[in-house]
Amino acid sequence: MRKIWDLVGGVHPPENKHQSVQLPIGHLPLPDKLVIPLNQHIGAPPKLLVNAGDQVLKGQPLAEPHGMVSVGVHAPTSGTITDISDYPIPHPSGMSARCITLLPDNRDQWIDHAGVADFRSYSPAKLLELIREAGIAGLGGAGFPSAVKLSARKPISTLIINSTECEPYITADDMLMREHPQEIVAGIQILAYLLGEPEEILIGIEDNKPEAYEALQPWLQGTNIELVEFPTRYPSGGEKQLIQILTGKEVPSGGLPADIGIVCQNVGTTYAIQRAVCHGEPLISRVTTVTGRACTINRNYQALIGTSISHLLKHNGYDPQHCARLIMGGPMMGFTLTSTDVPVIKTTNCILAPSREELPAPPPAQPCIRCGMCAEACPASLLPQQLFWYAQSQNHERLEAHNLFDCIECGACSYVCPSNIPLVQYYRAAKGEIRKQAQEKIKSDRARARFEFQQARKEKEEAEKAAKREARKQAAEQARALAADKPGTAPGPDDIVKAAMARAAEQKASPEEQRARLERGVARAESHLQTVEQRLQSIQREGNGQQIEQARAAREDARLRLEDSRHKLTELGTTSEVMERVQASPRAALEKKVASLRERITVTEQKIAEADDDNLKAALQSGLAKQLTKLQEAEQQLSEAPETAPATPAATSDAAAAAIARAQARAAAMGSLSEADKLRESIISLEGRIEKAKAKLDEAKASESEHVDALQTGLDKLQQKLLTEREKCAAFAGQAQAPCAPRQQPAAQPVAEPPPRDAASAAIARAQARATELANMSEQDKLRETVSSLHSRLHKARVKLREAEAEGSEHVDALRTAAEKLQTKLAAAEQQLAEYHS
């Protein structure tokens, strides 16, 4: 005899199984319609294969498995599909889901089907596919696709067939074993083959089913299947509990039986697999117990999937007056149905219609006195009373530390609770809450990561911008310094640069000159304001709203300029003094410093002489020493000053400045070069660039960089350019009869053509000019500049928008947004400017 391990905890609810085993498994007349939920298993819903109006035969697939964890659905009888839409399904929540409605034609005509003669001649993979196609999901209660469970990746040493049926009232498996032992044993052999013939094959059965035990026993002769009987105690039929009872092993928390080399299958599922493999019959019906005192007949039926519960009850003398609740499943783990209009599904093992006396409504819960009866009953060795305590206070951390998620919700704790506390309900709610929070946490973590990344990116961009700004600023300063040094020889054909340099030079202009300039500026601004006001008045007479606005803005602008000019003029007095001091020679400053130091030293010496306190004297002396050192330093500097002072400040070897100088030199050279020379130069440079680009591209390709495409495009463009340049050169050569000979073209060159300006040098010059300008501007000036530039940009944008509108271009929206943005920007800038003035 095999060693049996003891079930931890457990309870002995009244079994109430005898009522429904008096009659054999019955067959009901075909119902008027069958409502077949699409998804009756755990996992992905299957894919529909039929449409409303289709004629189907019995066993014809209505939906095929879709995804890894999925099974199909089949027509339980022949008939017409009338409808595919949402109907209430048997679910604790009473929810609706997609169902196929089938109107039987009462012919019950099978589709062509055939079983496998010798399953061993098929590969396990083929058989698993067959089981999957046959729509077989665990019939014990959870409805997990059997094919998935049977395709364990780990070596399986033990196959357990669960014939425990520990829930009170339910006898579906019991009756199945009594009536179909041979098929069940054949099914077990198929399972064993699929799992690679495990060493141990056990059928676990409670000792309250002696008839089933007797029925199975003869068929096990000559097999390695062992029928193991153990004492009846709820919930020994739980997968984890059964494994513990039969093997003494425990399924690791959060793991699967396969992790310890065990696969557990329900006996009903085993039967269904045998029907599918040996007879080619998909899962279209199951044994369902209809019991409870609200029914006059208690028995089992081979019920078609999709049969409505009301149809089942109708044939059992169901009296709704006596029935308080209708339960699908057993009294321990079943759920209540709020309507009899839901169908039998693959996991419907029992319909329990108890009378009020049989399962009375629960009395109100009393306070928990922590008696610990629940802990004694718990098959998972949890502390239900503590879980209850923490569930009430929503202390999720404690709940998890107390292993809430190892609770199998068997209901043993609630069953024994003397205070009638619905403990399991608390645990379900707490689990739901914890799961929800975990999901929300994942979501918020993701959001945080996104935000942080965005911040980092922005900071990086900002830093890059700042670096560029710094480089530009330095370049501008360099240019200014150069201009100041050699005003006469300043290169560059660009007038803007000259203007910028002139402005830079202005700073060095004498106060008298500046005053005169500023006075001129004020006068100009005044006259400008007058003209603008006149214009405004004339426009106001005409009354064009938009123009008035513009004119007003212009007036405001003019007024501001005037104010600014006046302000500058008044300021000049103070600045000229400052300028004087700043412009004083360093030598004078040093001389001053030396003099002041000498003076301080004499004062200190005097103080030392007067001081009578030793400490004070010491402090003063140390101070004197410092002053003397300083004096020495200053004198040293002074002696050096005459040599260094006249020298112009050496140009710092700044990269930007160098680049500018190069560009300038290039521009100058270009200006003096002939067209043909330029072309030649250009060709040579292009060739060089192409060389470089090719090298880079190769490198990128070698390192599989993501920039390969971009580089390729760049290279193509360069080559294209080279081609055109060469053509030009050739054309030029044809014209001049001298192929690209240097320094021979100027004669042939049409004089009318203005000296071409190299775009690059022009851009550099512009940038320099702007930078210089900006550097020279006051904050107010800058703002004003911004405002006026925005004005012009807005104007341009409006013109473009109007054009686009006229053309009906697709860019209208984008343009409009751009114009609006400009307007907002302008308003902001004006606002700022106004604030500046106030």
């Binding site: 009244p14 399962l359 008696c371 309900q425």
Partner: protein, 355 residues
């Protein structure tokens, strides 16, 4: 016709808190009988007074808290508290002692903490300790066992007992005959060997194991406790741990019966409030540790504390103090004594953060 929507389980064992409490009350009967047989009507009168006060106050509190009165009175918890307090108090204690004790137990120790299930301390023991500290004279005046009454003095009948408890009922002062308890005797033993003490004191010389009357009272409570154990009202862990540790301590310090001995294990187990404590107080589920492992620790520590206070403390008996001290410790014990859950390698701690 609407069908009920309920979550599983739908079946429920025919068991309720009231039935559990009734069983506990029933199990105190042997002890009460023994007390009455050896110490007169005092305990019964205690219980009657305590029960009246406790149930009335419970009703009052329920009214104040606006709870359904009969639903909460129906759990018998107040009655159990009253009975346990009545059994623990010295028989023939003045009525006001009992009233103060039971009032304190119900009002302060039970309802101020939130009522049944929420009280961290055993209400009966809180009431008892409050009285012991406040009225040491009344609380240490145990009547002599009836067989040891002096010649010519008859034991007080029920009416006389009532007169002792309610002095206002009698025109003249009626006094009870008091005597030292076995634990008192040992506490005040100076210089006598245990054997000599047993010989010289009629309380021991006329008893079988541990003091006349006391041994039977304790055995009666033990019997009641066994009934509760058999009916699975509580598990064996806490009481067995307490009795074992108390017995072991007593054996360890028995000192071969010298004059410095603190008494034999049998004397400790069968005298004072040992059995009442072990089976009716220590097993109070609300205030004890939760897991079986926790209850073993909880019970064992109560046994040790009881022996320590009895032997070296200033009070002769110590079950109440030990229980209250361990009530403090119970939540801490709970944190470290979770059982090993199915599928886990080892037990976890309640204070553990995420796995």
């Amino acid at each position: 016709m609407a069908l009920l929507k309920l979550t599983s389980p739908h079946a429920h064992a025919a068991q309720n808190t009231a039935a559990v409490m009734r069983l506990v009350l029933l199990a105190t009967l042997p002890g009460l009988l023994a007390l009455t047989a050896f110490f007169g009507w005092g305990s019964l009168i205690n219980i009657l007074i305590a029960a009246t006060v406790a149930v009335s106050l419970e009703a009052l509190v329920m009214r104040l808290r606006q709870r359904p009165l009969m639903f909460y009175l129906g759990d018998y918890s107040a009655l159990v508290t009253a009975v346990l307090l009545g059994l623990a108090l010295p028989p023939l204690a003045p009525w006001w002692v009992v009233v103060i004790g039971s009032s304190f137990a119900i009002l302060i120790a039970k309802h101020l903490y939130g009522g049944l299930g929420y009280n961290p301390f055993n209400p009966a023991m809180v009431g008892y300790v409050v009285l012991l500290i406040s009225f040491p004279v009344q609380m240490t005046a145990w009547p002599a066992p009836l067989p040891l009454y002096p010649e010519g003095v008859t034991a007080p009948g029920f009416w006389e007992s009532l007169q002792i408890v309610f002095p206002l009922l009698s025109p003249e002062q009626v006094d009870a005959v008091t005597a030292a308890t076995p634990l008192d005797t040992f506490k005040h033993n100076s210089g006598l060997l245990v054997a000599q003490l047993y010989q010289q004191t009629p309380l021991f010389s006329r008893a079988h194991w541990a003091g006349l009357g006391w041994e039977w009272v304790n055995l009666a409570f033990l019997a009641g406790g066994c009934l509760l154990l058999a009916r699975r009202v509580f598990t064996w862990h806490a009481p067995v741990a307490m009795l074992t540790s108390l017995g072991l301590c007593a054996a360890l310090f028995y000192d071969s019966g010298s004059s410095a001995s603190h008494g034999s294990p049998l004397m400790h187990l069968l005298s004072g409030g040992t059995m009442l404590g072990a089976f009716f107080i220590v097993t109070d589920p609300v205030t004890s540790a939760t897991s079986n492992r926790g209850r073993l620790i909880y019970g064992a520590l109560i046994g040790i504390l009881t022996f320590i206070i009895r032997s070296w403390g200033s009070y002769p008996d110590a079950v109440a103090f030990s229980v209250l001290l361990m009530n403090f410790a119970a939540p801490l014990i709970d944190n470290y004594t979770l059982p090993r859950t199915y599928g886990h390698q080892k037990p976890r701690r309640a204070t553990e953060k995420k796995e």
